[in-house]
Symmetry: C2
Subunit: 216 residues, 2 copies
């Protein structure tokens, strides 16, 4: 792996494990057995590492949300959208946990996020429109814009919600199961909107995604 | 009005207008034509003012979410829940905008928020269970826990979403209309879950709450 990629991967791991606030460029260099000077040769500061991680997160999210080419959307596509978004949320969970702080500390990142978020909303709306057009959701009651907005809000606020409300201590660890419950919450929005033909398969997906949320 | 209440009201106004980060206790004292010493007689620091504002926000939210006593829930109750939560969100919008920052800077507030958030989730779940029991929502597909979680996530993340995604500039002002759209998004979750008897009245409520979200 190139040094630049090793720095990015180590930063992502440390940010996810310890929180972005607690990790300095010196920690990252020490973790890699690298001199701070060598790290600074690749990245001017932590902000630049975060900006690069954001670009990778956004690229992964945008790829996840691509529409199938030349054919209608089906239930396998829906399963793939949900699984891939869950994996991306887990992989970049430090960013979702502290998004507000990251955007408040970097105006360029805030502008980039704004564009990414609007683009994602349009992509998700197209997916829901495809789901309605394919007869999976009932066109009388399903509204692609409403569903896209709510899905985006749920996905982007789920990790932060877990940390502020469900974990008993900020030091407790998130688990992939807790993230899956967020994906379940997104799919569960469709419970009343499903066509009779699609309902059995979506119910199986819901059951597979479900995990209880334990709070004392 | 007592001096203590005047300080609280002025702080809320300035935080909402200028953002909590930009407002110091000196600004608040100057706004009231009061000496900083007089302000410090009532509040040790800005953190204590924020803690008091949070208690008022939590008390208002908990009052909004009370169940009707000794009778079943009806559609007027639902309208009242939505209106009152919208008004509380608007009144304390600075807090919803910067929640993560406020909680990260004050561990006591974070613990208090955790308890408030869990309590609110239970209260909202009881409201949805009441809505299902009253036959407003279809018991086959509506799940009170799922709806409560998603409603809470939507309500607590809506202001921040507007600021990070829909406003073109952090300096742009939020409007009550933009907040109402958040309330619309919460009610719109029920679109596919409504009983035939409840649908016409809820459709009227949805139409009244709707406003377009303009982003370039």
């Amino acid at each position: 792996m190139k040094t630049r990629d090793r720095i990015i991967e180590a930063s992502l791991q440390l940010f996810n494990e310890q929180g972005e606030r607690a990790v300095t460029t010196n920690h990252i260099a020490a973790h890699l057995g690298m001199s701070p000077g060598n790290l600074y040769y690749h990245f001017r500061n932590k902000q630049q590492i975060i900006a690069e991680l954001f670009e990778r997160y956004a690229a992964e999210a945008e790829q996840n949300l691509a529409l199938p080419q030349g054919r209608a959307l089906d239930l396998d596509d829906k399963a793939r959208y949900l699984e891939s978004m869950g994996a991306t949320m887990w992989r970049y969970r430090f960013m979702l946990r502290d998004l507000e702080h990251l955007l408040a500390s970097d105006v360029e990142l805030a502008a980039r996020y704004r564009a990414f978020s609007r683009h994602s909303l349009r992509a998700i709306e197209a997916i829901f429109q495809g789901t309605i057009d394919a007869g999976i959701l009932d066109a009388r009651y399903a509204n692609a814009e409403v569903l896209a907005l709510n899905s985006w809000l749920l996905m982007t606020s789920w990790v932060n919600f877990l940390c502020t409300t469900m974990l008993n201590d900020a030091q407790d660890d998130l688990t992939p199961q807790m993230l899956r419950r967020g994906v379940y919450q997104v799919l569960a929005q469709e419970r009343g909107l499903l066509s009779e033909a699609a309902r059995p398969a979506v119910d199986v997906m819901l059951e597979r995604l479900y995990s209880p949320l334990a709070a004392d």
